[in-house]
Symmetry: C3
Subunit: 327 residues, 3 copies
């Protein structure tokens, strides 16, 4: 595959965000987990994402006609897939796509991901993988001749681009240093909060509240990580004690079946009764899709940013693709 440098003139104006680092210091080869993003890389990414907003707003395009992105999904997720594919199309590029990568061949079910990646490396310039095993993306990156992006691996794995777009959504509203965030829901499930917690740890004076019934609380590995990085956090079971204090109310999916078994989970829902207690400039985030934990009556509140999150995902993924494809 060709790897000629793609011009990216539109971002000259954001040079000041580079913190004076040499470009070589920011080279991004693969995107496997959110921890790998340094502060300068994050600021580079967010600067470019702002540029993408402007380009999309004026109906412009970039010069990626010759570049191909392969979507290798081992399970369907139209939401994430469309976001990446729209990003590549808005850059002017092209897309190969499957949501049933387990049928990579008609003859052998369950081919090793390494062989599939080696082959796709010969067709595409960047590979976006969603794998069912926690180390699927890392294994892919190890053998790939082209950049690999993790679009979610395993139940307890990561989904780093979701965390990046979450953080970008906050960044667009206020400075990240000094931020207080409440993560709410079944925190033992789901990789979104895990990935975002890693990213928040890179900023100053962050306060995190993990709000959940005790038996569904955030797993110790994340709490240990925050301890090691001197991030203040509290483990809390009462939403009422937290909701009025935080800048960001980050709600996550609650499985309806689990609510049926444990009605206490209803106490963690956000609805119009909770809204008056939030700070007037709070932000309500949710990775979507939602079920019972986020009421539709919240949608019209100006603090509800979850649909804007989705659109920001387009800009952040466009920006990420340019960073990976420029090398």
């Amino acid at each position: 595959m060709n790897h000629t440098v793609t011009a990216f003139d539109g971002l000259a104006e954001q040079k000041d965000l580079h913190f004076g680092l040499e470009p070589a210091a920011m080279k991004l080869r693969h995107v496997v987990e959110s921890q790998q993003f340094t502060l300068p890389l994050l600021m580079e990414l967010f600067g470019r994402s702002r540029g993408m907003e402007r380009i999309v707003a004026r109906g412009g395009s970039l010069d990626y006609q010759q570049r191909i992105m392969a979507m290798l999904f081992y399970a369907p997720s139209t939401r994430t897939r469309f976001s990446f594919e729209a990003a590549m199309h808005r850059l002017g590029g092209r897309v190969l796509s499957t949501e049933q990568a387990h049928a990579f061949s008609s003859e052998v079910e369950g081919e090793q991901v390494e062989d599939s990646i080696r082959i796709i490396s010969g067709y595409a310039d960047v590979i976006v993988i969603r794998h069912h095993e926690e180390d699927g993306a890392r294994r892919a990156a190890t053998v790939s001749a082209v950049p690999v992006i993790n679009a979610g691996d395993g139940k307890g794995g990561q989904h780093p681009t979701q965390a990046l777009l979450d953080l970008y959504t906050i960044y667009r509203m206020r400075p990240l240093d000094g931020l207080s965030v409440a993560f709410i829901g079944e925190l033992d499930q789901g990789r979104t909060v895990r990935s975002l917690a890693y990213l928040l740890a890179k900023f100053e004076r962050i306060r995190i509240f993990f709000v959940s019934p005790p038996e569904m609380q955030m797993k110790p590995d994340i709490l240990d990580y925050l301890d090691r990085h001197n991030v203040r956090y509290e483990v809390e079971s009462d939403l009422n004690r937290v909701v009025g204090e935080v800048d960001v109310v980050y709600q996550t999916r609650i499985h309806p079946a689990r609510v049926a078994n444990q009605p206490i989970l209803r106490n963690y829902a956000i609805d119009s009764s909770v809204l008056p207690r939030m700070k007037p400039d709070a932000m309500i985030l949710h990775p979507l899709p939602r079920t019972v934990e986020l009421d539709k009556t919240v949608d019209s509140d100006p603090r509800a940013l979850y649909f804007r999150q989705a659109t920001n995902g387009l800009y952040v993924r466009m920006a990420l693709l340019t960073m990976l494809l420029e090398q």
Copy 2:
């Protein structure tokens, strides 16, 4: 999403089809049901469709490189999907596509269509939806920030673009005023005939024959609609009494299983024995796919237009997309 006006110079020659109406009067925002097409809108659409035929014939293209169409299908239908996607590609545009929209997220089966549409509105410039519920397309249009096209909703719902391409196929052959049409088959099933009946009611001196065993006849809501709009129609059970009189023989699918149970359905098939009784300038239409009700020996008859119908679908959908995307 950007909504800059896309130039459409190629149609200046069809200005005379505009009936002198102000363009503002013809604005088309969503396509949910065939009734919404006024006569001027239909003529605008058909004029543009003619222009598309010419553009495709000379291998040309239009300037839609920056526009993205999202195909949100809740059940697979390659036929309809390919037709829309080919239309968007022939315009120069780009496509996001799923036939398993029920897996819009990997985490929640059966997300509300409203949330999915709100998110896709942030990625795409137009959304084509096929939904299993009769009001799926309307619900989508209600929340969408970009135009929505109904590509078939529910069993008893509509499929307006099929009706538009059916009508365009007739329009290309002869004037629509004064037309006589026989609809044949299991008329209690299928949305194609329903949608087309609504459109025919907009023209003058139309005569419709609904030809079917009594227990499979067209439902009263359509007959009431025709009554209210003073359209002449007859409910008929004998194909022989009608087939020699009509300009259009519109055959529809008969389910083979139903034929096995009710052999009388064989009497409604079109084969080489029926051809001599048709008018020499009759048109044989069928929405396809066919089963037992339309014999392959009919294919070589010059009055068989069903494959041309499919190609006309390309032109009509191209034209429709330009009307929706220009706004």
Copy 3:
């Protein structure tokens, strides 16, 4: 559909490969089986494939923006599909794609392939079909208004483009006349070896060894074909007697379940113990995916060409598409 001639200036330099034949003599309409490729057609294809390697290497593109390729797969095979789609994208073209063509319509399961092809002929400029019946591709070609490419039909059918890329991979390393090849594995299964054997028969002084347990040997129709074309071949059950003599070790899939039942199949695997006995300039090919018959320790051997085979598939399919679309 338009069929204007597409300029292909980049290949003027390969004119000497045309063997002085008139272009008209090389017209390729459909690609159904490997036998149809004459020696001049093969050399034309391989010359173009070389040109494609250069175009891809310099990040170039060709002028196929207005051309649409439809992928009509009746069973998923992401590997083959991505290869064709990447080829069309590298040419600058556009793609319609399904891996569930049996759901061509939502209403009728199992529509006749002829009707589907007639309809897609109205949308696309070339159709790539993978069908489950051995004559599926031929039936498609019979009714299609545009070129059809067989991407694998039936269990005992053909997969001609796989054979073409296999042969091209060898051709890039050494002259084809005088070649000796060992085909290894369950030779009664799989169409790859069948298609390649037909192609090899077109060259001079070829020697073929079919290496397999007697009960899984190559079927008589291929052996008869080789007899009729005076190709030397041997049916062999002992890999050791052959592996040191041949220029090409062509390993094929062995089903793990079959190995469990017949442990003798282990004797046909290629691993690091076999490598020292091969000729220093031998080539190890495999159509992939692999299971137990080709050990990962072989991957780092410079004679292992199976991943390069996959990349060559891109160039050969690009070249093939240009030959079909130029007409």
